[in-house]
């Protein structure tokens, strides 16, 4: 019997949960939401505000259940927001205020 390694939940090579799952080969065109998140990520990278490694680390820190529930670019915006807060580029108070104003 092969023991399951203590792998992190994003480290999916060979993961037993997926090994019998069929690939969804249908084309999914990126949405406006997807493209905007992607573009902001690129701008933050180009301006030296956030590296792609920080983005990934933030994605990996999303708890496992949520990680699998969120769409690809939902994970990105979550990680980007967490990174921007952590780095003090935006503050929690500012974000809360904008969210409240938009509610």
């Amino acid at each position: 019997m092969e023991l399951e390694a203590p792998r992190a939940h994003h480290d999916l090579g060979g993961a037993g949960t997926y090994i019998c799952q069929e690939i969804d080969r249908a084309a999914h065109t990126p949405t406006d939401f997807d493209k905007e998140v992607d573009a902001i990520r690129q701008i933050l990278g180009a301006k030296g505000i956030m590296t792609v490694d920080e983005l990934r680390r933030g994605i990996e820190e999303i708890p496992e259940a949520e990680y699998h529930q969120l769409s690809y670019y939902e994970r990105w915006i979550r990680s980007m927001t967490a990174n921007l807060l952590e780095k003090g580029v935006i503050s929690e108070a500012e974000l809360a205020a904008v969210l409240a104003a938009a509610a």
């Binding site: 090994i19 999914h28 905007e36 701008i43 990278g45 990934r56 809360a96």
Partner: protein, 200 residues
């Protein structure tokens, strides 16, 4: 706002995006115009770019040699913008070796020459199975390799981005470069399919 505890997990992605975009615009970090321009630039990258490289490599041995030693420079020679993109590596299929690209840790993809990664490339099933059951995975695309062909699965874990230079189908011996470029699909350059002449 003292004592506010923001729970990001309770904010829907779209709402979070609108709020973050507003803050970044207010701070002069990313304006709506910059975002629109960035989207337009990203949309310009598509599998047609990678296909042009493959077609050129099939007709021009010198270009092929350059593409295999320095993919970034080869792309730039065809006018594909590579500034700011990770280095591009190109791996060549041979009659007895087939390459298949995956990123098991996230979704590293040669975006500069292929565009946005397709949905399936980012899926858990693809990431899990490519390294462990590559032949079963290829079968889902209807791809069956000739007997004796080995598979080399490339896990794109770090600073490079990888694409496959597939074998040129024998039936295309008399085709010109444009016609060859039109034949090559994104799936051929990731290695889940092989270039195929329609109707054969």
């Amino acid at each position: 706002m003292a004592g506010t505890v923001l729970r990001l997990e309770e904010v829907a992605g779209e709402r979070l995006l609108r709020a973050v975009a507003a803050l970044l615009a207010a701070k002069g970090i990313a304006s709506p115009t910059e975002i629109t321009e960035q989207i337009a630039m990203t949309d310009n990258a598509s599998p047609a770019q990678g296909a042009r490289m493959v077609a050129r490599a099939w007709v021009d041995p010198q270009f092929r040699a350059l593409m295999l030693s320095d993919g970034t420079r080869a792309a730039e020679m065809l006018g594909i913008p590579m500034r700011g993109a990770p280095p591009l590596g190109v791996l060549e299929d041979t009659p007895d070796l087939h390459h298949l690209i995956v990123c098991t840790l996230c979704s590293c993809y040669p975006r500069a020459v292929l565009g946005y990664p397709p949905f399936w490339y980012k899926s858990g099933a693809y990431r899990a199975r490519a390294v462990r059951d590559p032949r079963g995975l290829l079968a889902e695309w209807g791809t069956v390799l000739d007997p004796g062909v080995r598979i080399r699965v490339v896990d794109s874990t770090a600073d490079y981005r990888w694409m496959v230079l597939p074998l040129r189908p024998a039936e295309t011996a008399k085709w010109n470069e444009d016609r060859l470029a039109a034949l090559v699909r994104e799936t051929d350059m990731i290695g889940v399919t092989l270039p195929r002449v329609a109707g054969d």
